[in-house]
Symmetry: C3
Subunit: 276 residues, 3 copies
Amino acid sequence: MASAFDAIVAYDAGIDNVISYADITADKCASIVEGAIYTRPPKQKHNTAIMIGGSDLDKGEALKKAVQEQFFGRFRVSVMLDSCGCNTTAAAGIALLAKHHTLANKTATVLAGTGPVGQRAAVMLAQAGAKEVRLTSRKLARAEQACKLAEAQYHVALQAYACADDQSLSASLEGSQIAFCAGKTGVQLIKAEQWQNHPDLEAMVDVNTQPPLGIEGIEMADNNTLYRDRYAIFGGLAVGALKLKLQRACIAALFEHNTLELDSEEIYKRAITLLK
Amino acid sequence: MASAFDAIVAYDAGIDNVISYADITADKCASIVEGAIYTRPPKQKHNTAIMIGGSDLDKGEALKKAVQEQFFGRFRVSVMLDSCGCNTTAAAGIALLAKHHTLANKTATVLAGTGPVGQRAAVMLAQAGAKEVRLTSRKLARAEQACKLAEAQYHVALQAYACADDQSLSASLEGSQIAFCAGKTGVQLIKAEQWQNHPDLEAMVDVNTQPPLGIEGIEMADNNTLYRDRYAIFGGLAVGALKLKLQRACIAALFEHNTLELDSEEIYKRAITLLK
Amino acid sequence: MASAFDAIVAYDAGIDNVISYADITADKCASIVEGAIYTRPPKQKHNTAIMIGGSDLDKGEALKKAVQEQFFGRFRVSVMLDSCGCNTTAAAGIALLAKHHTLANKTATVLAGTGPVGQRAAVMLAQAGAKEVRLTSRKLARAEQACKLAEAQYHVALQAYACADDQSLSASLEGSQIAFCAGKTGVQLIKAEQWQNHPDLEAMVDVNTQPPLGIEGIEMADNNTLYRDRYAIFGGLAVGALKLKLQRACIAALFEHNTLELDSEEIYKRAITLLK
């Protein structure tokens, strides 16, 4: 099903017409790309752009590659990858963190890190200067695979952690100053008792916008809200507000010229700029 | 297939952008609702609304319920249910009747009453004051089921009639002053000889806009047109013109605030207002 | 998949809202046609029109027939058939040829003539006055079938040629002054050595816009470009630029009144007008 969310954000970004497609994979994009690159003369090609959404980041990346391989000469348009909102959500969360807290020399744990948002959050934390970034999954093998992918693509070293119960969660948070909860809607990842007396944690982000939240005992409107005088919390609404602003800004930017490529790094930079 | 009809009417209602989906059932609406409730800030949430169409009223009602169950706090948008045009078509037909003819203490028969339009027409006739409302179907069991549903949902008592041949049709019309033909396009429900000397009938509505019409011997442009000095007829074009005006008005109203719910009763009220 | 190309061109033609459908065949168009013919009052019916695209011309023609059969009385809208861009691409190519070169008394060969563009190009060449028009396919039977269809529909006599190797290609071009290459993207139809010393050829059109082109040794930007002082070449970009202008003009024309029918002949006439 084509994303209503992305279409609405695109309209709010000022785009005149959104043409949505569902179930597009790398082998099915040729006619869409033809429509994008051939219909307008060189000086108007920047009036068309392609945004790749979907819920599967691997497929999204393969699709982006296929789209760009079809470009040639002046026959190209700007492209943005944001499967599952991965880049804009992760960038919003990390940019908020980075604005208020030093990331350099910190250890950060990304819980539920194998999903699109988690994968990107881990990479962005590493690129933003965190000393150690841990990526957790219920199964170690999946976490390891995500770490390998991130290393191959972004040249960052991530640590894989299994996180299947209270004990393994504690292990993944031990020595962590930062926690980023990238879990699915309505899945609690950290109980109140697991963070409210934690000796190392300083700041936590949760992207959830529907109860139960990823972190028990916080509010989704928390925006660098201090709990117990020491734990700074960023809830889903604070992240979401910046994510929406960022997504609109990125989509609008696609139409400035016809050669822009917006993925992880470019989108994170734009999040930082929006917060200045 | 997403409805072209509803999309065009929505554009004519002044809506900027219609995002259409096909085959959405209660278990598939989550991401659409997320797109509707999360993308815009509180003061702009009224700029998004959900209209539920489709050809199946039961599924439409289940979908409406699922959509509304996903709303919480300020995270909600206006919703309209009009599967198969049931509410707007029935409301237009009954409002036209009610403007020109007293419904109080009358007996009304809804032919082909188990479809979306027929079900709603029967309920609206009862709520508009008809003394007795008969709902017919080719099979008695289906008529009885529709009557039970209407009673459970709208607390109105309807009488189920089987209507499979000339004789049973006559029985369903005996003592009826009002007949409402809600049959499918091109299906004749009443022969000329069955109404043109009928001792009780006073007014008849037919929603058909393509020959053969539901009532033999009328014109689809009839608008309270008197036949034989005693039978007032409302044809499909008269009903359709008000239905379109009503549907546009209802869709436009969805965007006035973000908490409107437009279903049978609200839509009927708006039809009455449009005719004042 | 609904065509992005056609939607973008429609927006560029000034259309406010494009409602796209995929996989529509003659048996599935009823509700779309209802939406088109019933939603707007007589004086505004010209604000809706139907464009039939798709990649299959036979299905497109059957669909056009089904759409028009559903029209009655004033309940009709303008219709355009352009499956696979057949009419606009062929008309653009032939109109360019006809502007710069006499077609009367010439022999023309349409290579890869059984596709939508090739079929229409052959018919238009015949109607534009060519003495003999050859339609080639890798299999003779397919070429013969296309010729029969063209004769039945457009009352033009075409000659079927098999064209499966160098020798049969040479035979199909022998005595031809005109060659029209209607092959698929990236399929070379004529080698450089097969045309650069050809005794009869005078002008060639290639609709390809992605290398390798249909004619080896040309540029897709060629626009009546003379090679070896004697071969005038029209490449895919020259054809494409006029095709786009023509498609926009045709789509815009659909909304002038509600009874226009744009297919092969009308579209070719409009191409000629655009070049005047």
